[in-house]
């Protein structure tokens, strides 16, 4: 209760509100730039959160996620180019409305549906997370190891088109996690005599390299995107008559976004397309879909904004990041010495409740900022791409150096960027690698600690009921993914 009251006090904390505002603004700009996904926008900010108070830092990162999901719809509506993957479904009817001179109306519907979705997702997050985490409070080393394995089993559902490639990416991530000092004996492993590697490779460097640098290496040869027209882009919020048409597709978006958000690997893109399809199925005017339907914007925008809240449920309760953006937020927790999962509600409840309050503020601020940011967004989208790439890379190189005043870190980020570029070209998903890097230490250290406790007897993992349950869940999750890979290929979705 004390933590909850202190969280409410967060609303009056100027730094938190400033972080939420800054995060939303940055997120909207990032989301509005095609090629800059919410996770990349978050990764670019990650190095700057080092010196911040944990609550301020996490609120800022989460606010970027909220802002980017709305920002992605701006170019989707104006120039038929989704700023984020999850805004792709919005392009269908959004751009049609823009062609009819109703771009401002489309943007208004997108903004308000995003608000409805964002607040609903936050409600689900608040209600579902703590009970789930409470169950996991009785964790022992074998249970923590099993939890890590359950997290790694998510790789199977994050593998996109090829399960084997996802597994390879996950194993490579685990290998990166073994670099440094051995957690039990203290001997150095795979450091090649380089002192900078003794403390291991920070996950943040891998994330920034895989997401941001690799994207810039791709973008340097990609064609320029279209220019946005300043005409007809005055934002117009929906009136009461339009709201009457919007509640049903928004409800559909909220329901689907909730389910897809808590399911690791599903994410906002799938949720948005599913919501679009279902909204058309249940609409009284299905013939309008594809020709400029307001419902065709409301459903996907509500769905992908619900995911900004619900995707954090498995992260906060079990420490399992189910999406790229959740993985970056996990990096934000780790930077501040916080480990999401069962103990988070015991060790740092104020941070968790502060994050809830920050997310609430971010959703409200999204509307206020959304009303005034359109003109600067159009200006930014119309900047020449070479300049955008130049400034983004300058920001990356400066931010990474600032983490530890280390030129060596810049080398690691560039190496990770090259690895990310090669992985993209080979059709390998990147999130499994991030999972491997993040969870590798947790799994290995608790596995070996458990065996020390049991004097080398592996049965400790099935004698502990929590561990057994988590391992069975991991087997079930992997089994389902294998079945989907080899027996139901037509239903596969490219998540990476």
């Amino acid at each position: 209760m004390d933590a909850f009251i202190s969280a409410l006090a967060t609303l009056t904390n100027g730094w938190v509100m400033l972080a939420a505002l800054g995060g939303v603004v940055w997120g909207i700009f990032g989301g509005a730039l095609p090629g800059i996904s919410p996770s990349i926008a978050m990764a670019l900010l990650l190095p700057f959160t080092y010196g911040m108070d944990p609550t301020v830092a996490l609120v800022m990162l989460a606010s970027v996620y909220v802002g980017a999901e709305y920002g992605g719809s701006i170019p989707a509506i104006l120039i038929r180019t989704p700023g984020t993957n999850s805004a792709a479904a919005t392009t269908i009817d959004g751009f049609e409305l823009a062609r009819q001179g109703r771009a401002g109306e489309a943007l208004g519907i997108s903004l308000m549906s995003g608000l409805v979705g964002g607040l609903f997702g936050l409600l689900v997050l608040v209600i579902a997370t703590e009970p789930l985490a409470r169950v996991a409070l009785a964790f022992t080393p074998p249970a923590y190891c099993a939890l890590g394995i359950l997290g790694l089993s998510v790789i199977a559902s994050l593998s996109g088109r090829s399960l084997v490639k996802g597994l390879i990416a996950g194993i490579l991530g685990l290998m990166i996690a073994t670099v440094g000092t051995d957690p039990v004996s203290g001997v150095s492993r795979f450091t090649m005599g380089v002192p900078d590697l003794l403390s291991g490779i920070r996950p943040i460097l891998i994330m920034v390299g895989l997401f941001a640098v690799a994207e810039m290496l791709e973008q340097i040869s990609a064609p320029a995107w279209n220019k946005a027209d300043r005409r007809d882009t005055r934002l117009k919020l929906p009136g009461l008559a339009v709201w009457r048409r919007l509640w049903k597709p928004q409800a559909i978006g909220c329901a689907i976004g909730t389910f897809e958000g808590v399911t690791p690997g599903a994410g906002g893109t799938i949720a948005a397309f599913m919501a679009y399809n279902e909204a058309r199925r249940w609409s009284s005017k299905p013939e309008e879909f594809g020709k400029g339907s307001v419902e065709g914007i409301a459903a996907p925008e509500a769905a992908n904004n619900v995911v900004t809240g619900t995707a954090l449920v498995p992260l906060l309760s079990l420490g399992i990041p189910g999406s790229n953006s959740a993985a970056i937020l996990l990096g934000g927790f780790l930077i501040h010495g916080l480990v999401p999962g069962p103990m988070l509600f015991v060790k740092a409840p104020d941070v968790v409740y502060g994050l809830y309050v920050g997310l609430f503020a971010a959703n409200i601020l999204m509307v206020l900022v959304g009303l005034v940011i359109l003109t600067p967004c159009i200006w930014l989208v119309n900047r020449p791409k070479p300049w955008l790439i130049a400034f983004i890379l300058a920001l990356v190189m400066s931010g990474v150096y600032a983490i530890d005043n280390s030129v060596f870190d810049l080398g690691i980020v560039l190496t990770a960027g090259v690895v990310g570029y090669v992985m993209r070209r080979c059709g390998m998903p990147m999130l499994p690698m991030v999972l491997g890097v993040v969870l590798g230490f947790l799994v290995e250290s608790n596995y070996r600690r458990s065996l020390v406790l049991s004097r080398g007897d592996h049965s400790i993992f099935i004698e502990d009921p929590v561990s057994l349950g988590l391992l069975l869940a991991a087997v079930a999750l992997t089994g389902y993914s294998v079945w989907r890979e080899y027996f139901k290929p037509q239903s596969k979705e490219a998540i990476a």
Binding site: V164, I171, P386, A394, V407, V452
Partner: protein
């Protein structure tokens, strides 16, 4: 026989697994070590990677996917070269940073990337790069208090 990209990836992973195993084998045994040992988990990972590499080779053959010749497409080659050029610029930045100092190095990086990306060389490029550098300098050094390298101009700062 033309090897597809997945074939090359599978083979590459098997080679990497062998190298990783060999490196794990070189890890010294500590008196404080447990039953698993510092090399235990890495060796399991090496085996898993080799199996996955072999599986990738196998599934590529079983699925009889059309063999796409690696780097046969001219556009793709061009894209790789463009990416390599950008990477070379970033590597140069890493080497120049301690020598030239942050303000000059970051200005050069901004200008070089913009020109490499297709911006025409003209005085405004230098002006924007210098302005960008000043902006980054104020943000990182003056506002965040980060000790950025001053390079050979150290005496001047």
């Amino acid at each position: 026989m033309t090897l597809s990209r997945d074939d090359l990836l599978g083979l590459g992973m098997i080679v990497l697994a062998a190298a990783y195993w060999a490196a794990a084998d070189q890890i010294p045994v500590s008196l404080l070590s447990d039953a698993v040992g510092a090399d235990g988990v890495p060796k399991v990972l090496a085996v898993a990677l080799a199996i996955c590499g072999a599986l990738l080779l196998l599934t590529t053959r079983l699925k009889r996917q059309p063999a796409e010749a690696p780097s046969s497409d001219r556009d793709e080659k061009r894209a790789h070269l463009r990416a390599a050029g950008l990477l070379a610029g970033l590597v140069a930045y890493i080497f120049l940073l301690p020598v030239l100092g942050y303000p000059l190095a970051i200005a050069l990086l901004i200008a070089a990337v913009a020109i490499y990306g297709g911006t025409r060389i003209r005085p405004s490029v230098a002006a924007v790069a210098v302005a960008g550098s000043a902006l980054f300098w104020v943000f990182f050094v003056k506002i965040l208090g980060i000790g950025m390298p001053t390079g050979i101009w150290a005496a001047g700062f």
